[in-house]
Amino acid sequence: MSDIRLDQLTHSYGETRAVDNVSLSIAEGEFYSLLGPSGCGKSTTLRMIAGFVTPTSGRILIGGGDVTRLPPERRDIGIVFQNYAIFPHMSVAENIAFGLRLRKVPRAEIDTAVEGALAQVGLSGFGDRYQRNLSGGQQQRVALARVLVTKPRILLLDEPLSALDKALREEMKFWIKDLQQTLGITTIYVTHDQDEALTMSDRIGVMRAGRIEQSGTPREIYEEPASLFVTTFIGQSNVLDATYAGAEGPRAAAMVEGRALSAELSHALPRGSAAKLVIRPENVLMGPEAADRNLTQLPATVIGESYQGAMVRYRLRLGSQELVAERQNQAHLARWRPGETVTVGWDPGRARLLPAD
């Protein structure tokens, strides 16, 4: 068990920088997710930590020791791949024993450890099976058992759930998180799925074009996005064209459709510069809910309504721009039809002004 530190880690393929100057500290026992679209460099970062890709520059430290130049077999890292990479010519027990055999552990000890590992992942009695007789979820568990039995210092998970069907994915999400917490093992989890990252992680690093755009707790990432990319990649956001009009107490004043609105500001902006006002659909209130004087209030026209079961989703026209509101579908809440005018509003603390991309 150890902490991980990435120090100005860079990897270039020819001209393109797949990973560009990434620095990161992950505490011992932490569950850290690298989240981003495909090609953002998250897998390359993981492969550099595992030792399969040599960094062009920068350093990787595990437990304080520099492992940048160590081959994978000497890093003492457990990695689980997207396709599980179970050895097809070995039984489940042989798969799990593989790492211990290489370490020349005595036979009797291996047998005990394999039994223990199988029990830990809930696959007791599966030792004699082969990969072809295992479901995706079972292969996933074998891959984890195979890695954990060697007691690695850190655990790397490369999109481990993406090959599973939705129901199993939900189940495995919590199972993996529980296992990680029980073991207290430092874990890096690579995913393009925001739900996985939000529910499982202690902290998330959102990656884009080889850089970490924002690193923070799931709440910070979702509620205090540092950039337009983060706010649109994670969940949904209304992005309104705005102009920064200067400070207004602790907040910023932004001109949107000729009105001065206040919003949270996380980046210094030059006065008068074009910016984006960002507000999540669930934070857009309508009608009586928006009546509070402390809220930002705007007149809008309903242009579309879609029923989603637990939610009703409204498309609203706000001057020349469009806005989406998501309201809970509950009996005491009013409903609007397309064509009706309605006052919309939001807590200014929920709106953020971000630099235009």
Binding site: R75, F81, Q82, R146
Partner: protein
Amino acid sequence: MGDTSPIPLTFRLVSGVALVILLTPVLIVVLSGLNSGEYLTFPPQGLSLKWVAGFFTSPIFLPAFLFSFGLATVTTIISTILGTMAAIFLTRSRSRAREVLRGLFILPVVLPGVVLGLALYVFFAWTKLGLAGSFPGLLIGHVLVTMPFVIATVTASLVDFDLSVEDAARSLGATPLQAFTKVTLPIIQPGISAGTIFAFIVSFGQFELTLFLATPDMQPLPIAMYTSLRYAFEPTAAAAGIFAICLVTISTLVTSRLVNLKKLLRRR
């Protein structure tokens, strides 16, 4: 519903005819070798094992058979090792030389054997390394024409090989060599076995190339049979043919059995 086979009747008829055309010569050779007459004739004048027995006492055929067997064995070992290495390079290298090399490796089977044989003979004579008319020279020729078969079969098994399996092994503590021998090799073994049997059969029956590279005191079976048939039309050659057919059939059966078992174990 008399016909439940998923293969159309026409296809089955065509393959039946093809099979007959392919197998008839084999049958003729076998029957000729069992001839009780003095000459190589068909249909045989009667059945007897005297030419088969003659094969064992023949000063030409038995040594030629054993020489061919030895040559094919050594060729197969070298071809399998080099061909497997080449296939790994061809499937994994990102080098631009890859396509050129792939073409060069396949060239020996595309070129007519006569052309290749002549080219090698001239080359060996020109280099003055004593390769012309020597066993190493003959061996080099055989490796050249058999290696493409190993490359083809091993490449086929490497194409759907999942590299993360090797990465997993490395991360679990295996050195590159251990990862290769404990994980990669067992997984691609069916392809290697198939290549081995091809290499053996091709080397054992190789004629044109051998014609240029063999010497009178170093005669593989195909050359011995050809020479003997040119001067004496005796059925010992056909009897030798029986042994060659048996050897090839048995080795094919044994290998395909091994390969299929492995395939079955691998697939669900």
